[in-house]
Symmetry: D2
Subunit: 348 residues, 4 copies
Amino acid sequence: MQRFALIGAGFIGTVHAANLAADPDVDFAVVYDIDTARATALASKYGARAVTSLGEVFDPAAIDAVFIGSSTDTHAEHLRAAADAGLAVMVEKPIAPSLAEAHEVVAYVEKSGVPANLDFNRRYDRDHAALQRVVASGGVGDVELVQMSSRGPSLPPVEYLKVSGGQMRDQTVHFFDLLRWITAQDPVSVAVTGSALVDPSIASFGDVDTSVATLTLPSGALVQIDSVRRTGYGYDERIEVMGSTGLVESRRQRSGNVAVYQGDGILLDPLHAGWFERVQPTYAAALRAFVAALEADTPVPAPLRDGLAAQAIAEAATLALQSGLTETIRYRNLDWRPPRRPREPHRQ
Amino acid sequence: MQRFALIGAGFIGTVHAANLAADPDVDFAVVYDIDTARATALASKYGARAVTSLGEVFDPAAIDAVFIGSSTDTHAEHLRAAADAGLAVMVEKPIAPSLAEAHEVVAYVEKSGVPANLDFNRRYDRDHAALQRVVASGGVGDVELVQMSSRGPSLPPVEYLKVSGGQMRDQTVHFFDLLRWITAQDPVSVAVTGSALVDPSIASFGDVDTSVATLTLPSGALVQIDSVRRTGYGYDERIEVMGSTGLVESRRQRSGNVAVYQGDGILLDPLHAGWFERVQPTYAAALRAFVAALEADTPVPAPLRDGLAAQAIAEAATLALQSGLTETIRYRNLDWRPPRRPREPHRQ
Amino acid sequence: MQRFALIGAGFIGTVHAANLAADPDVDFAVVYDIDTARATALASKYGARAVTSLGEVFDPAAIDAVFIGSSTDTHAEHLRAAADAGLAVMVEKPIAPSLAEAHEVVAYVEKSGVPANLDFNRRYDRDHAALQRVVASGGVGDVELVQMSSRGPSLPPVEYLKVSGGQMRDQTVHFFDLLRWITAQDPVSVAVTGSALVDPSIASFGDVDTSVATLTLPSGALVQIDSVRRTGYGYDERIEVMGSTGLVESRRQRSGNVAVYQGDGILLDPLHAGWFERVQPTYAAALRAFVAALEADTPVPAPLRDGLAAQAIAEAATLALQSGLTETIRYRNLDWRPPRRPREPHRQ
Amino acid sequence: MQRFALIGAGFIGTVHAANLAADPDVDFAVVYDIDTARATALASKYGARAVTSLGEVFDPAAIDAVFIGSSTDTHAEHLRAAADAGLAVMVEKPIAPSLAEAHEVVAYVEKSGVPANLDFNRRYDRDHAALQRVVASGGVGDVELVQMSSRGPSLPPVEYLKVSGGQMRDQTVHFFDLLRWITAQDPVSVAVTGSALVDPSIASFGDVDTSVATLTLPSGALVQIDSVRRTGYGYDERIEVMGSTGLVESRRQRSGNVAVYQGDGILLDPLHAGWFERVQPTYAAALRAFVAALEADTPVPAPLRDGLAAQAIAEAATLALQSGLTETIRYRNLDWRPPRRPREPHRQ
């Protein structure tokens, strides 16, 4: 049984709270939020205790693990505190707003030796996970072409976009991680073309709302990722991996499985209205995997370092969008090893 | 090369003519129709000769095979003439309006020994044929449940329905044949429930426009066939066969493969507007199979006797609709043998 | 906030317990089970109190509503106790093993005036519910043909089947309720044909494992329900309703949305392995609707009487299976009214 | 009625011959091929006349229109001959192996004023055409993102590839035309990344077998086209167009519509085995449109100039593949106008 403290009682914090309460190996002990009332309300719903000081969070006597679900600019600080207290820690992406700072934090936490895990929840999407298993087991042969669509239903507020770091760092970064995880390869280069089609004012601060990225894998395989901020037809996420012997596709998910037949066509249920409808179940599964690793004393499923790699790709992609050139992705200082499984040399 | 005469230059005759002209092993020689102008127009389009007497059709010196595509009440007479002339013959369903007369004609033709084939074109539907192969090869194990939907888009004229013999004889009969062909079993009993929902006036002459039939196969397997005269959403034909190890389905066919995604749903192309859009390719394939049998001097694929069996089921179904009881299907006088392959005794 | 006692801590009881704990308007107070250890374990997981006497369940001072999730033969007794104590009550199907006893219990409970609700959870299937809304809103016009498939993946133990009351009462009864709910009509007659194909020994106690039922609605519309105990390919549940202007289908649900393309075909994820995978979310939704009615002081969504109607159809269907005849369904003594919305006279 | 001469009796010539024979407004008069025996065999099958001199093809007294279906290096010569003879002409793609020569030929033919039409048959794909109509009618709003997949089942012989001009000119060019036709925009720039994954020896002559192209439209909309020589799972062609209000997709086409349900998955029919299975019906439709324009004396549907534009894009794409840079597409000397409909300025 792992005694958990949760930092952050906002929207996503409430999701984590419900999952912590339901997990059979978790004792959901403590909630902290800078908004004390919010912490109290959330804690009381699940029989946890609201605390008002971080000292009660990072307390090895009462807590085994901390879940950091607070705002991005606090992640680094809380990660260091967990390392100092010797507590296991799970943290929302990203590790830190800047890659340089993220590097420092990861080095610090790794030195401490505490189990530290990123919440790469999309890896736990039922269908993406099945696709990854097909690819990893050789079900489509050697990977040759990967296509990913990341398309949100509606434009976030421009005020949010201004401070988001840009589409590559804010949106596409999730798919850079999925790409590494699915192919077990680190892409070597990236080119990006983008436009501000939905709201041209986005261009005024150097960002885009519609973009296509092309990446190359060490094996020569090619990758296309399209990122769209506003579809008009719902949340559209899709992955396909073509290999030397077949293709596997994690298809668009509809919100239901009803069909109405009329003379002018057959109307199926639309895609999910928003991203949360699709990804909700992934949070509990990601937590489950972390807790299981703690219970079994095995390596965490998504070490912080994986986040550095995704972030490095996002940095190169941001540069490529500005330069109009194909940019090499630099994982330097990472002392990098392939993420999971050895690759055979490409067949001749 | 088989020299063919075609009887009938109406709508379906023009379909047969195009297929006769395109078949590589057919010399499309002669067209006959009681409407001479119609025969002439059709013949000239394909370089055939229009004739005005049946003597020029049933002429062994000039003709090897006759395709009877004229009206139902003439089939028997033309079949006998082909038998007398020693010509191979392919005929549209049914053999004759009454089962008794059909029996007589079949006996007459069989005695002559000429190759005589019914145009059971639906057996050549691309998807139904694939389903039949799956079933015949044991791909779903022993058949346990069969479901068939036969649904036309719009009500035929009531004047037509009055003389059609009723829904079982006119519409469902095609599926009685498909059932025998797919399962290689002759159903033993049938019950039918029906209503005149589309046009209550149909009830005044004892017919229905919407019905469900339940049949039992010798193995104990169950069959459901629904027959609908007017769907309002296009031509809807579907077959599924559940066996002891799996299920195979010949799905509804859409008229295209385009999808439009909007916020309120995903609109697929509708089903075919009419039956002809779905079945058109089957006519050429059915002809091809007959011609191939003639060329190879092998048994014809759908001997007339198969038509008697389907007609016998339709008679019992018509009786069942009237009686409200489960009726035994009587194939007597047919000296019947299972149509194609031996059945093992049902496993214990 | 409704204080709930739960009776029954078996498999389905644990499902109800999780839902009671998660429902925002429920105070999950008490668990009772004849197996005290089981009750204690379940109660402790959710911070509820295990009790050892029914007096602590039916205690108006501490409890507002009782959820009866114990074995079928105890439902009647607990329903009467809830009525006596003036407590709201939600009960698993069926009300009682025999229709006669069910009648008595319903009369008793109705006289008491307590809110009493059957757990017709399948009505809360996401897709079936959407289909029902399409039908109720006239989206397919007047109902003309209904088809339902109820197919379990594997044969239950024969020992269970022997005491189950037969396929109609045990399995098909759920679809008799769905039929009434979807069409807002009470069927007038039923005919059933069945076979013991999976395990012929089932025939020795008068039951079947594969059956097709044909029902007629007051409007003349026709209904087909097939019930299968063992598919070999997973849990297969499907409903389609054809009306005068279109068709709506609640499709087979697959366990995932992944496709693998190979040269010999495209492999999609299979259907759910078992019934529970499909219906799990329906239990929470059914509970939610009951609690919402209690909170709003409005009529319960599925009054006990609805269960009598489904049970009456199952009785007639059982008789029809034995007699081989079309049986009239007798709702007598029910002082019956159409379940939900007025019907216009059938259009001429 | 248009009297046609066909040049070329090879594989695709036999397809054209069958379509010429079946078209109601065509008098299929003459066949020419450098292989005289081949011409004779094809002509005799359809009652046409085989000729041995091109003088009998380009003979205004006997012929109204010429269909050029011979090898690519002869197209220019035959086009000039048709212009000289004042005959209408339909020609297979491309106009000439080099863009410069194609420019000259088009100028020559345009000066003559004869109706001259390219066989852009893929525009007549049933589903692509429906997609184009949806886009053109504003059914998805302003185009923002286009994705096309062009994937053949198996690698053509390396000997063929060596002289093919490269993947962009040989394969992707068809989709450059579809792109212009669907969006009614001429792309302004193109970047291409490619690899020789299937057969590394292809790299030795500067070609690739797997590539992704990114194009930008004048409106800022983005385009992705992937081109694959060998899939391992059949012929895979797919187009989707995302606009400001929705998305339209011309889906992968399967070779049949049968599904087999087993415990481990649902097996659908594979994609078509080859490209011809998908595109066969488009040839007759493309011919039909040309003949209809001749009969009605209206502009031809696909003037030669459209071929120049597609070829200009392919040249820029070939350059981009070599340079690794985004290349501007130069339509110079074409006195270019948007192909079909005016565009409103992009909305603010």
